[in-house]
Amino acid sequence: MIFTLKIWRQKNAADKGGLVTYKVEDISADSSFFEMLDILNQQLIAQGVDPVAFDHDCREGICGTCSLYINGRPHGPLKGVTTCQLHMRSFRNGETIFVEPWRCGAFPVIKDLIVDRSAFDKIIQSGGYVSVNSGGIPDANTIPVPKPDSDAAFDAAACIGCGACVASCPNASAMLFVSSKVSHLALLPQGRVEAERRVQKMVSTMDSLGFGNCSNTYACEAECPKEISVVNIARMNREYLAAKIFAEKEKQISFSL
């Protein structure tokens, strides 16, 4: 197969950047999108041109390293598939393909197609855990968890932290990412203990890092490679509201005492 590629090139965070056109030929329909980029990079190296930098690691759809807008869509045209699991048979022979880094103020470009997503780490650091130490833990079966709750927690925990939700959102909102972690832990008795504290801290960190708010376009759910549901956002809003009301009440009680 033959393709024309319009790829975003940007030397570093300070550089302005722009689209550059490349041609690749003799591409097998069975090769993955990244294998096609590998072939392009081998051509560029042979020509003495700096190869295109892009984030990738496991190449089996689970680590969440890969990103990219492909023809304007996060992770390309298929539903429930990361860029690394996309194959060239999903494109037309001779097609022109636009490849760009994710655009969001909280994800600055490092080089070419690579962005810095450490804002996600900061959100998790602010409360995306159960505060237990390793040691002195009761037997795992002392806390029964209803299977439907456990399954729902798993569905939320399937998030790979790739940032497609932010990239797809017109407001660059991180609500799907944050709510998947809030839901995962709030649905389980182990995580319930500090659920109120967690949701408040994570939401306030998310806001401080420059992510936008949710306006219910559901683009995040449509583009999420792990098909995380927007129900999690509703659950997070409920958790947040309840936590805030509860916090207000507590304050009043402590004043009145």
Binding site: D30, I62, T65, S118, Y129, V130, A158, Q190
Partner: protein, 646 residues
């Protein structure tokens, strides 16, 4: 000859760990604050170690090459994690898990470490559940288990096909909490290019900031390597693209011994190679063998027609199919261990019965299972795997058999460590896949996750305190010491040489070439002539690389080709050591099948009289041959027997 003594307590096996913990020296909380520990890698072993050491109050610096710790390749583990919980009341206990691990490792692992691993396994599950890891559950709300890898008990805990992901996120969240509390400082997008020794002790590392290209000095009172396995030496493997041996290799070149490098695990159920530009291989979970039947055509003519796509596998009648695992191993059939299943597939393909366009594939057929249980039941069990297969291969496995072929998956060999997980360099530890200690010559399914977390959460935090209790009077290590200057000079020189080499071939060209040599001569089946030839080929490749590699881009910028060049150069050197190790081991055991050592019916033949030892290699300088040291293995609890699956 270095005397390799593991140093396990001299008490009965079952009492060793309790005895060790009762006697080990502790560090008081005021002093922990003054002690620095470097942890290289944030997979299951590294993240769990860094989190626990941080929780204990040490000053921890954690490093990963990825953009965030949550992406380490432990995340890709599918199947599950073993633990001797005996929740199913089916006769499991610590001893049985220990026994299965020793036997599965073909009697080339150390009893003391394996027993400790088995005894810790229940605690891992308790902790992970408390962290919120959503393991599979029954309707009664308690944890579910399954049998995995042909074991007789159901001791595997799992989270759909994403157990590694969920466990890693558990460890990552524990680590994140310690980062937030200021006990751990995270350095992401860093390659560790050297380990620094001061007065013979590990005192720091040299890192390259992958974003800026800056060379950084980091010091500590102890250094922990948790950099994972080296399967990418084969170019094509199920490892992540960035998985590398570099931190472990730097440790080796600084004096840590490298044990059993030739022990690699070739997993039988991977999606076959489709072409020259393939960049990686994808594993299909071993659980598929519970219901799938493996076959190739009985006639070579049919195989040829299948390769040319003139007929389809459904066209071949039952009588013309060779279910070769069921034929050769009637007792275990399609559930023989990984090493046996892989070799059998290679044997059939080498004999001309392979299918797929390359002839390097066999069928994994669910037709019978679908007829017996219905498509819905099969979809419930393997739906996500079938979907993944269809996405990659564009074939529907409900209608036509899957094609599979063995691929490099895990490396049992690694840095030699003692009972305390310390290498032969004082203050330098190795945990998880990068050490050699627990899996012998062949790892059992669902045991890698168990080992990584045992090392990080429960073993290292105890054993490192013994060493650090002797360090409380050592002030913070200065990074201006001449040893750091020299290490930085060496790293910078090597980077410049790579960058300024005016070659014509890209790094991938050499990596692919190395992979072919390793797969051909040091893969599933090895012989003396081939291994000797490989030493020469690798030496030629090393020289060709030095003379002719081309690395574009600059030193002080984000430069993925430069990263790869460094890693591949290390892989070439490692390849040489693996081949030497395979050459000296003139026996077949586990993942290492030596053609000269087989039974009359072509099964692997171990040689306990001569080879019941750990082969640990010492670096003797570039250009000199490494020296082999032996740790004799003593089996006091389990008597070695020949494995038979007939």
């Amino acid at each position: 000859m270095i005397n390799l003594n593991a140093g396990a307590p001299k008490v009965p096996l079952a009492e060793q760990w309790a005895s060790y913990k009762a006697g080990c020296k502790l560090v008081n909380p005021n002093n922990k604050r003054k002690l620095d520990i470097i942890v290289v890698g944030t997979g299951l072993a590294g993240a769990s170690a860094a989190a626990t050491l941080g929780q204990l109050g040490y000053n921890v610096k954690a490093f990963c090459y990825q953009d965030t710790p949550r992406r380490a390749h432990s995340i890709a583990a599918q199947g599950g994690i073993n633990a001797a919980k005996n929740y199913q009341n089916d006769g499991d206990n610590v001893y049985r898990l220990f026994y299965d691990t020793i036997k599965g490792g073909d009697y080339r692992a150390r009893e003391s470490n394996v027993y400790r691993l088995a005894s810790i396994s229940p605690e891992i599950i308790d902790l992970c559940v408390a962290q919120g890891v959503p393991f599979a559950r029954e309707y009664g709300g308690l944890l579910a288990n399954r049998s995995f890898g042909g074991t007789q008990v159901s001791r595997t805990f799992y989270a759909r096909g994403q157990t590694g992901q969920q466990l890693l996120i558990g460890a990552y969240s524990a680590l994140s909490r310690q980062i937030a509390e200021g006990n751990v400082k995270l350095y992401n997008r860093r390659d560790i290019l050297d380990v620094v020794l001061v007065d013979g002790r590990a005192r720091g590392v040299i890192a390259r900031n992958l974003v800026t290209g800056e060379i950084e000095r980091h010091s500590a009172h102890a250094v922990v390597i948790a950099s994972g396995g080296y399967g990418n030496v084969f170019y094509l493997s199920t490892n992540a693209m960035g998985s590398n041996v570099t931190p472990a290799w730097s440790a080796y070149k600084k004096g840590a011994l490298f044990a059993n490098p030739c022990f690699t695990q070739i997993h039988p159920t991977c999606i076959p190679v489709h072409g020259e530009f393939q960049s990686k291989l994808t594993l299909m979970s071993e659980s598929l063998r519970n219901d799938g039947r493996i076959w190739v055509p009985l006639d070579k003519e049919d195989a040829e027609k299948l390769r040319q796509k003139k007929i389809r596998p459904e066209d071949i009648p039952e009588s013309k199919r060779d279910y070769y695992l069921e034929r050769r191993y009637p007792a275990f059939g399609n559930l023989v261990p990984r090493d046996v299943a892989s070799r059998a597939a290679k044997e059939r393909c080498d004999a001309g019965y392979g299918v797929g366009t390359t002839g390097l594939a066999v069928y994994l057929d669910f037709g019978d299972a679908i007829r017996r249980l219905g498509q819905e039941a099969i979809a419930a069990r393997y739906g996500n795997l079938f979907q993944m297969y269809e996405q990659i291969v564009a074939d529907n496995p409900y209608k036509t058999p899957m094609m599979i072929y063995p691929a490099v998956h895990y490396t049992m060999g690694g840095l030699w460590v003692d009972y305390e997980l310390m290498t032969t360099v004082p203050g330098l530890y190795a945990i998880g896949e990068c050490n050699f200690s627990d899996h012998g010559a062949n790892r059992l399914g669902a045991s890698a996750l168990m080992q990584g977390l045992a090392d990080g959460y429960f073993v290292l935090p105890y054993t490192i305190s013994g060493y650090l209790s002797g360090e409380i009077h050592t002030p913070p290590i200065s990074t201006s010491l001449p040893e750091f200057d020299e290490a930085v000079r060496n790293v910078s020189d090597r980077l410049s040489r790579l960058k300024n080499n005016k070659g014509t071939e890209s790094v991938d060209y050499f990596h692919r070439k190395l992979g072919k040599i390793m797969w051909e001569y040091c893969g599933m089946s090895r012989n003396e002539a081939g291994l000797k030839k490989a030493i020469g080929l690798i030496d030629d490749l090393k020289k060709e690389f030095e003379a002719n590699v081309r690395v574009p881009g600059g030193l002080k910028e984000y430069n993925p080709e430069l990263e790869k060049a460094w890693r591949v150069q290390d892989f070439i050197e490692l390849g040489d050591l693996m081949v030497r190790d395979a050459l000296q081991r003139r026996e077949s055991c586990g993942g290492h099948f030596r053609e000269e050592s087989q039974t009359p019916d072509h099964e692997a033949m171990r040689n306990d009289d001569e080879f019941a030892f750990v082969g640990a290699w010492q670096f003797k300088g570039s250009g000199s041959e490494p020296e082999l040291h032996r740790e004799e293995l003593h089996f006091e609890t389990v008597a070695p027997s020949q494995r038979s699956y007939k």
